[in-house]
Amino acid sequence: MLKLSLKTILSKKNETASIIASLIERLNASVWIEDDTGNILLGNRSETCKVEQVIKVDNEPVGVVRGDETANIVAAIINQSIQKEAEKKKLGSEVLNLYQEINLIYNFSERLAQAIDAPTISAITLEEAGRVIKSNGGVVLLWDEATERLKILASSGALFFVEEKLYSEIRLLSKILLSGQSEIITDVSALSQAGILLPEVRSVIYSALKVNKRTMGAIILSSNELVQYTAADLKLLTTLALQSSAAIESALLYEKNLREAKEREEAMRLVYEATGKFVPYEFIGSLGHNVITDVKLGDQVEKIVTVLFSDIRDYTSLSEQMSPEENFKFVCSFNERMGPAIRKHNGFINQYLGDAIMAIFPRNAEDALLAAIEMQKEVQDLNRIRASNNQTPIQMGVGMHTGPLIMGITGDEDRMDATTISDSVNIASRLESLTKHYSVNIILSESSLKQIERKEGFHLRSLGLVQLKGKREAVEIHECFDSNALPDMEKKLNTLAAFNEGVSFFLNKSFHEANLAFKKVVDVDPGDHTAKFFYRNTKKIIDEGVFENGVGIVAMHEK
């Protein structure tokens, strides 16, 4: 609707007034112009009023030209002027509309630039759209390829659709929405009848969200009044949709990248954790590396450690009674108990060798001894269960020795493994096998004992010296009976003095006295097989003479 007053046309700024004025003067005519309230805008009123021309703008009368015949010319000039002015205004109005659009898009871009997630972007878009397009409510839908469902990114204003129907009426909606079009829906009956739209909705306008020729969703506005949406409205909505599509796509890609990065990180972490279970990280750390990937052929480190060997006695005959599967199950449950006992005392398992375990305790021999005691207790526990299942109890021997050890990586480029090369390993292993001969649970060498500060915390018995096969020097060994059953432990404590005496005599080659001492022990505690062993040994020496090497050492000819 044009707002144009006659007064404006005839104002000083417009040449029209002066043209008309000079015309009237020239022709000596009698013409005056009145506005719609009867005020004179130009000229003078006179008696002659032969002509009366109503001036109209948009079919509305805004004034009248009165006078003689010249009035017709004047009216014509005014109408010309009005037309020109009207055109100018119309053009100006259109340009202003465009300018407003530019301003809107500018502001929208600025706002979009600050949002980073899809829901926020959608909410901003709905806000801007609702500001310029008459509507009651709006929604931004996204087609989620993963779940194959429509997803609501944002909604505004009054609810105008039934959410469950969004998921169930896929076909109908897809046809309309994902066709990639932008449309004004004047006939909403199909959607209302399908129950997708609420009954009060009268008009709908929507625009597809597209990126790379792929339709990813839509922005939909609705009104409960019958609105005559214009092409301009649709164009505006499409412009907003275009900008937000790109922003939403970026946001979704960003989120996807973040998610995938996290998943990869998690996967790597799991692998790292897993490798730690197969290759002890203490090992890698000792080699001076932080990550297993740094480890290379030839890496090595030498350290004084305590090596511990454990073995189930007569396992061969035990395993013969079981099937391979039962065997495996047994070993599994056995190792499951031993592992934690070792780790609890700062040790790590270097190798599982069937029913035997080789563990390394880098810090202190006391750790190893504590672990050994706990391992034996676990065996007792296990035996209780076995007894209730009518299974034969198992017996385990533990031997340990403290000395230098080289841990290193050997093999070839394609197949590497951690290896320990050390005499200490051999000694520990042999000490373990001695446990059977001496009928003891735990044997530790003198070197291990030396490292233990609070010896009084343990129940120990010296077992004298032993010459291991192939070794030049003899090793002094000790028994730890902390893990023995309580009655047994008490008995050993009672006979401790006598026993130690016996060993001492033995080392001094006073075999008679030794024999007597051990007899004392056996008399008090017939169940002390170790004492019996020494008793028999000393008797044998007395009866048959001293062994070849002439030293009071028990010679071990077996491995």
Partner: protein, 127 residues
């Protein structure tokens, strides 16, 4: 008192657009003036003493800042309300605008609604 309004911009389409935005005020009796450079603006301001001036900053020869400074600081015409208009990205001018005594600062593309609102406010013409 007669209400007067001056639009200063070297670009014709901006002068036209602002005029178009405020057109209803013209029908309400406000007198519109336009100028296409700083010198013209100063002449009109001194001659007509408009209550409100929309003043573009980026103009050749004498720019909006200079015009504002002369009007406010040299001539001391404090009853002339000056709105400085500048393109987005030149917003550092905001500080300078304060120094030369501008009353309000707006960026282009301008928001037609805001322009109309400000004009009504200054000229005390309620809608």
């Amino acid at each position: 008192m007669e209400q007067k309004l001056l639009i200063v911009d070297d670009e014709a389409h901006i002068r036209m657009l602002i005029g178009q935005t405020l057109e209803e005020l013209e029908d309400e009796g406000v007198n519109f003036f336009t100028a296409e450079n700083g010198e013209q603006a100063l002449e009109i301001i001194q001659a007509e003493r408009p209550q409100l001036v929309f003043l573009d900053v980026m103009m050749p020869k004498m720019n909006g800042m200079e015009v504002c400074r002369r009007v406010k600081k040299e001539l001391g015409l404090n009853d002339v309300f000056i709105v400085l208009l500048t393109a987005k990205g030149q917003e550092l001018d905001r500080q300078k605008g304060q120094e030369v005594g501008a009353d309000v600062y707006m960026t282009k593309p301008f928001d037609p609604e805001k322009i109309l609102e400000k004009a009504r406010e200054v000229l005390q013409l309620q809608n």
